[in-house]
Subunit: 215 residues, 2 copies
């Protein structure tokens, strides 16, 4: 379907932000949006918006801007969000529990179909209405539910081992909350969520200047 060049990953990573922002604009009753306005909401320039979206066809009209509903629909289709995505979550500690209880996933087409742990006290119980199973049952559940994505919320020590199991079970995309960069074979996608590194990437700037007294 694409005759345009493949968008770079940095553009692909921004697409969900466009979708989210357009969805807020839609809730606010906005029919159209300029690249300036959309850019201001996402903290990128209007020129960047136009360049990003140009990878996916001619979407806006000069002087009129983008039709909010059409652009949202188009981006959702590009992101594959017209279908449901079944995911498994590995690690049902405090973080895993918060993730399992977060309603933001199912609202956006992401359904947690299985929780996995190795703690015998947890296995066989339910959390947030989802059964907790032993990680050894991963391949069976992944096959039964056509699971292609997973969320990893285990400790740094066990993350690579869990990721290897997931890859073996056919999982192709992993969101890793463990504070370690995991290795995956080519063809498997991984994104990291690392709050400490994000905070440290800001201490870099703060360390350069004296504290500003509050107004």
């Amino acid at each position: 379907m694409d005759k345009q060049p493949m968008p770079p990953d940095v553009v692909v990573r921004r697409l969900p932000l466009y979708a989210r922002t357009l969805s807020y604009l839609q809730q606010e009753g906005k029919k159209s949006v300029s690249s300036q306005e959309l850019g201001a909401r996402i903290n990128v320039t209007a020129a960047q918006i136009r360049k990003d979206l140009s990878y996916f066809g001619q979407l806006g009209k000069q002087g009129i801007g983008y039709n909010v509903e059409e652009l949202l629909h188009h981006i959702n289709r590009i992101l594959g969000l017209s279908q449901q995505w079944n995911v498994v979550l590995i690690g049902v500690g405090p973080l895993g529990q918060a993730i399992a209880r977060y309603s933001g996933f199912s609202e956006k087409g992401i359904h947690i179909v299985g929780l996995f742990d190795v703690d015998p006290k947890k296995i066989g119980t339910d959390f947030a209405g989802i059964p907790i199973r032993h990680v050894n049952d991963l391949p069976t559940v992944a096959r039964e539910h056509t699971v292609r994505m997973a969320i990893v919320a285990v400790s740094a020590e066990h993350a690579q081992e869990v990721v290897d199991l997931l890859v073996k079970a056919g999982v192709e995309a992993i969101l890793n909350y463990a504070p370690v960069i995991v290795q995956v074979p080519s063809g498997v996608w991984v994104r990291h969520i690392d709050p400490v590194s994000l905070l440290h990437s800001m201490t870099y700037y703060l360390a350069r200047e004296a504290p500003v007294p509050p107004s």
Copy 2:
């Protein structure tokens, strides 16, 4: 101190990953590391490593590689990690509770000195040994503890309001877990943690190919 050009933000964001990986290498007893080996751990090329680190002085030796301890120490100093950073956490729901209990922050110099909420049932109690206060007490606590950074774990609806309060209280860097892009004045840093968007940036790729059957 810097005579080199300012590093772009994308390089600054990678620095904590270098620090984290070097810290693992140190635990493994490694004395030196090549840019190839460091790159393989972080999933960037050796050339990128050398280019990134060149912003911060001549750090490696041709044919010998980087001294793990020295490079770690140097990066930690660049990131301002020789000092303690006091942060406040706003929102003590399930996610905020998981964040408050996460030991990874204090191990890396980030100390949560205050929890804030608006729920009268929570205010005045402790969680994970930290008192929960009303958000109205933010300015006092921020001043008393020289708080320059904050973590926001409230709903999307309240995120901007909370961020405005934080900025007013003198906070200069915000890690935002709410699924909305918040606006901050110039001079204030913000990073977003958005698991849904990260998952969607991977469904983009998966939607392009048929599922791979597990091996």
